[in-house]
Amino acid sequence: MRILAKVDTKSEFVIKGVQLEGVEKVGHIDAVLDELVRLGVNEFILSDTMASLYMRNSLISVIGRHTKDFRYPICAGGGIQSVSDATDLIKAGADRISINTYAIEDQSIIKSLTRSLGISCVVSQIDVRKIDNEFRLFTHAGRELSEYNLKSWLDFLNKNYVGEIIVTSIDRDGTSRGIDWDLINFMERESPLPYIYSGGLADLAELKSVEELKKMSGIAAMKIFIDSLQD
């Protein structure tokens, strides 16, 4: 199974929390990216977790600084509200962009993005938590509950194709407790599109258990890499 590093940032620092909360600084983005490449990571998802709050994405300068010497694909996101926000990231050197909060607030934006950038360049990033036995979507880096449940969002994406979905299990995020099979089974059943799963990966051996899944296109992780950096 394809494995990606899911790197969340706050200004120039990589952060990691548990269940998207109580975040701690892992290190400066430049140093962390270098270390991840050294570990053999060859695909990256970068998200500015404060962008939807501050209305600006600090990854533009980070990616701009790196892209020339960086030989691996980057999907970048955080606070994208328009095609022009997305193209700022692409021009800086991102290969794809991901959108969460504002796609949920304004449903027309996904269509505008795929029309200008092509379907393969756009990722729908969703943060999911089970509430009253129902998977619900959160926005603003897991801080706010949206009105969508997972099924209704997947139905929306079925009419508004993107290249991939990145789905994070908020409950498992940063816990190393193992991946969320409840959520994965739901995605396998209902998703119209390939999805990258994120949240709770215990160890690399767990990747074997997802090998036969039809719709999962990858697993994104960070905690597992941080642990090996600190060893």
């Binding site: 030989r71 694909p73 692409i90 794809r96 950038l117 092509g118 393969s120 290249g163 296109s217």
Partner: protein, 211 residues
């Protein structure tokens, strides 16, 4: 130092393409248009975005005309991703707009299956294979190597009259991954984002072009 010219096709991966060439000591210059068939360095057409918008950009100031002249004269041209696709006659992405038509073939939507789940885009690393190894030259060593792809359209059932062709399998189809035909090299994937093998591939292309 050897030099190449990168033609700006709009939303583009220009920075990373430049970086990858510089890693193998090739100097790069970015040009906005072509206004003469006398181009002083091999050309690179990078590309991200949609077929129609790239072609509109190439035709509105006659750049496509001079590209054609350069192609006929045997000027080396490398197309990456969308830059490869525009070398053909057209694409299902924007069926009303003609491609440069340097080569026969139509770019197809790779998501054909309605019966079973098939992803609309091929995203991630895919392994290259070949129908036969004879004649591949410098490119033979890339069979079995993984490169980064990010596309929803591609060429299936190609009619290219060259032995220098490599493929990937996607949605049960053999999709053209790269070719070298006369003075044209086309790459569907992103060598500039495929780690070390990507840089090695660019280096092989430079050698085949005898730069």
């Amino acid at each position: 130092m050897k030099k190449i010219c990168i033609l700006n096709l709009g939303y583009s991966n220009i920075k990373s393409v430049r970086g990858a060439f510089e890693e193998i000591d090739i100097e790069t210059a970015v040009i906005e248009k072509i206004d003469s068939a006398e181009i002083n360095a091999p050309l690179v057409l990078p590309g991200v975005g949609a077929f129609g918008s790239a072609m509109n950009r190439l035709t509105f100031d006659n750049t496509s005309y001079y590209l054609h002249e350069a192609f006929k004269k045997g000027h080396p041209i490398l197309g990456i991703c969308l830059g490869m696709q525009v070398m053909f006659e057209g694409s299902e992405e924007d069926s009303k707009i003609d491609g440069l038509s340097f080569l026969p073939g139509h770019i197809r939507n790779l998501n054909q299956s309605i019966e079973k789940f098939s992803p609309p885009s091929n995203i991630g690393y895919s392994r290259l294979n070949a129908c036969k190894t004879e004649g591949l030259g410098q490119y033979e060593k890339f069979i079995g190597e993984h490169f980064y792809f990010m596309h929803s359209f591609g060429l299936v059932d190609d009619e290219l009259a060259t032995d220098q062709k490599l493929y990937i399998n996607f949605n049960d189809q053999e999709v053209l991954a790269m070719f070298h035909h006369q003075n044209l090299v086309g790459i569907q994937f992103h060598p500039e984002r495929s780690g070390k093998p990507g840089v090695e591939l660019l280096s092989s292309i430079v050698k085949e072009f005898n730069l």
